[in-house]
């Protein structure tokens, strides 16, 4: 332990801590901008400047380790002036358009301006000007709003290990951008949106499809239905000041009905369907000497990654569409027929925790008779804006239930929203399909949690099945290299591009609260634990769907409607 003094308070803190962390232990808040928890400090923005006795200049609290007898002042006049000046200089090179900004009231620069009481423009000078990059289907990049904190760059390089954007140029002309300042659509970006989650301003944001959805809802000829991803119900409450990990499923359904959607369905239904298809595909690959290991295909960010980076390994990816695309496909075929609605008139909206899903829903492969399976994707954040415009007081809403038949789901589907969940759900059903009986205990602790790689060996009917769960796209490269070198021991690998899975997706509420991943994860596991049926193959509506329409998993019809193929994007990007 190290003893030091912060603002005349005696503090005992662990050796190796930074001033920032030590101050936090005694309830002293030091502001940060460029700092990202768990990553190596960059110390670039200087907003965390504090005074340390015997140090000549100010010291960055986020990067400086504490030492015995250190005397720190975090609230001296000199510190306050320095911080305020930093904020003022940042603001003067930033568009003054808070009133019409998508991050109004959820902006760290705005918060700092308020905290340090900036009340006038003291600096006047040239401002940077940049075009907005709207080239991608999922995200917008607005470099004029960028304050160069570098958080997006570090998440992209150090966490996701993609490196689509970086600092370019220097001095006044430095910009965070893609190589040659090209559009995100032709960059290495997989559109996961992790950069949006860490951006303090609106320099990075989703591309909104609210207008399209609103106009579809106003179109009398359209039968507009909505589906909700498993991860959204565990996070939406945060936008209404509910504790992290509050399950708001019931209110969510009511809210969506009040927005005017004709039917409110659950993507969890299609998650169960996905498991039926994917588990069957896995077993057939194992039994028939197919390409192994097999990768999951639920995460469109991961799919885009392998299409761009290692298209030669696309044969390893399951051909299953992702759950919301399956739901859309079933809606426009089976459901349309059953209800006597022309599929052309059905407009499917997906509420997703994800930015890549917007890109995915535009893929030409994902359509039935030239109709997109899903017509529009809204992120969790866009849904909150929609509720706001519609005057829906979310916290006051009563509970309601999803419509059927595409609303029934099991506990296995609920956990699709977290890293390891798809694997766990698939194992439950694969076990049943190979042995004819359900697992005694369906909880696979080995694939849960926040580790970046989770491994296990599961013995089913005397066959050892080696599985791996990649939690965050940054950890996938070693596994791909193993396959390239022919030394992969795995049969089945789940990959989710976002650390933590969809609960921490790029479309989720933006805040930097610690423990958000763990608590959101817990919420989904709780839903699973509270559900009576916890195996996908027990879903009655799914059984009926197979009986009435698809035949059996991986049947010809199922392949037509529920499976897809992939594109070599490396070729496209390099041409």
């Amino acid at each position: 332990m190290v003893q030091l003094t912060i603002n005349n308070i005696k503090v005992n803190a662990e050796e190796g801590m930074t001033i920032l962390d030590a101050a936090k232990t005694v309830g002293i808040k030091v502001p940060t901008l460029c700092h990202l928890k768990d990553l190596f400090p960059s110390g670039a923005c200087r907003i965390c400047s504090v005074e340390v006795k015997e140090h000549r200049g100010l010291t960055p609290a986020c990067a400086f380790p504490i030492y015995e007898g250190m005397v720190v002042e975090t609230n001296s006049p000199r510190v306050r002036v320095a911080r305020k000046t930093i904020v003022e200089l940042l603001i003067e090179n930033h568009p003054q358009d808070c009133l019409i900004c998508v991050r109004n009231k959820n902006c760290e620069l705005q918060d700092l301006s308020e905290t340090y009481g900036v009340r006038e423009h003291r600096y006047v000078g040239e401002k940077k000007e940049h075009a907005i990059d709207i080239s991608s289907a999922s995200m917008e990049r607005d470099p004029a709003k960028c304050i160069l904190c570098g958080r997006c760059v570090r998440v992209c390089h150090e966490v996701q290990k993609i490196g689509a954007i970086d600092f370019t140029g220097r001095g006044f002309t430095s910009t965070v951008t893609t190589p040659y300042n090209k559009g995100l659509n032709v960059s290495d970006c997989i559109l996961c949106g992790q950069c949006i989650l860490v951006c303090p301003t609106a320099a990075l944001r989703e591309k909104s499809t609210l207008k399209e959805v609103a106009s579809a809802l106003n179109n009398k000829n359209k039968f507009v239905v909505v589906q909700v991803a498993p991860a959204v119900r565990a996070t939406l409450g945060e936008e209404y000041n509910m504790p992290l990990g509050t399950d708001v499923t019931g209110q969510l359904v009511t809210g969506l009905r009040r927005l005017g959607f004709k039917k409110v369905f659950d993507t969890n239904f299609a998650a169960d369907l996905t498991i039926m298809e994917e588990a069957t595909e896995l077993i057939s690959r194992i039994n028939n000497g197919g390409i192994l290991p097999m990768f999951t295909s639920c995460c469109p960010g991961w799919v885009k990654f392998i299409e761009q980076e290692n298209p030669e390994l696309l044969g390893h990816v399951s051909s299953c569409k992702s759950p919301h695309e399956m739901e859309g496909a079933v809606l426009k075929t089976y459901y349309a027929k059953k209800m006597g609605i022309d599929p052309k008139d059905i407009f499917v909206v997906s509420i997703m925790p994800c930015t890549v899903k917007k890109f995915e829903s535009n893929r030409a492969e994902l359509s039935e008779e030239s109709l997109h399976d899903v017509d529009a994707v809204l992120t969790t954040r866009e849904l909150v804006r929609f509720f706001k415009i519609a005057g829906i007081e979310f916290s006051e809403l009563p509970n309601d239930q999803f419509d059927n038949p595409l609303g029934e789901s099991t506990g296995a589907a609920a956990i699709f929203g977290t890293s390891g969940g798809v694997m766990e759900a698939a194992l439950r059903t694969a076990y049943y399909k190979m042995t004819g009986s359900n697992l005694a205990s369906v909880d696979f602790e080995a694939v849960r949690g926040a580790n970046s790689l989770k491994e296990a060996t599961v013995n089913i009917n005397g066959l050892d099945i080696n599985i791996a769960v990649v939690n965050g796209i940054g950890g996938v490269k070693p596994l791909l290299e193993q396959i390239q070198n022919g030394v992969s021991k795995y049969h089945f690998i789940e990959v989710m591009a976002c650390p933590g899975g969809c609960i921490n997706g790029g479309g989720q509420p933006i805040h930097q609260k610690a423990e958000k991943i763990q608590k959101r994860m817990r919420a989904l596991y709780q839903i699973d634990a509270n559900t009576k049926m916890r195996n996908s193959h027990e879903n009655e509506s799914v059984k009926i769907l197979y009986k009435e329409f698809l035949g059996e998993p991986n049947s010809h019809k199922a392949h037509e409607i529920l499976h897809t193929h992939y594109t070599d994007r490396k070729k496209i990007l390099n041409s």
């Binding site: 993609i162 490196g163 689509a164 970086d166 600092f167 370019t168 140029g169 190589p179 040659y180 390239q484």
Partner: protein, 177 residues
């Protein structure tokens, strides 16, 4: 992962020749590699940056970021005539800012750029050691000192008429990074 032939660009033979002098995945080789490549082409072509990014195993964005950070690197080819405008202290005092603007206006490009007909490139340098004749510019190897804005059109006209034979394989020195 070893470098697979297919991952490199069409110009890979030239590049692999250079790569032989470096260790694969050695990130510290980035800047020397950029210098070597620029030594060949006089600038850094896009496919060369891509090849370097594969060789040192760094994202293209980072390679591009480094290439744009240092003044010594150039991303577009040089024109036949390189005009170096001194913006050092002595020249600044003697109104070199307006000299630069006059040249930019005359050629309709900005500092660092090359004209569409590839005749001229403007470069800003920090001092060319000729302070006694400030403000000074250097066109190829010719010094023009004690300049006034009105002298610029005439100087440019002389060079736009004649075609200068370009020396290849030599990297013109640019202001230090």
């Amino acid at each position: 992962m070893p470098i697979v032939e297919g991952q490199l660009s069409k110009a890979n033979k030239v590049h692999t020749e250079i790569f032989k002098n470096y260790e694969t995945k050695d990130k510290s080789a980035l800047i020397p590699l950029l210098q070597d490549i620029q030594g060949i082409y006089n600038y850094l072509p896009e496919n060369a940056l891509k090849d370097i990014s594969v060789f040192v195993d760094m994202p293209l964005s980072r390679v591009y970021g480094v290439a744009t950070f240092y003044n010594q690197f150039r991303l577009s080819p040089l024109g036949e005539n390189v005009i170096k405008v001194c913006r050092g202290t002595a020249c600044h005092v003697k109104n070199s800012a307006n000299i630069l603007i006059a040249i930019e206006n005359e050629l309709n490009i900005e500092a660092g750029q090359t004209t569409r007909d590839k005749k001229f490139t403007i470069e800003v340098v920090n001092c060319i050691g000729a302070c006694s004749i400030a403000p000074v510019i250097l066109v190829n190897d010719d010094y023009y000192g004690r300049l006034a804005v009105k002298d610029i059109p005439k100087i440019i006209k002389t060079y736009s008429k004649k075609t200068v034979k370009k020396e290849t394989g030599k990297t013109p020195e640019v202001g230090a990074a």
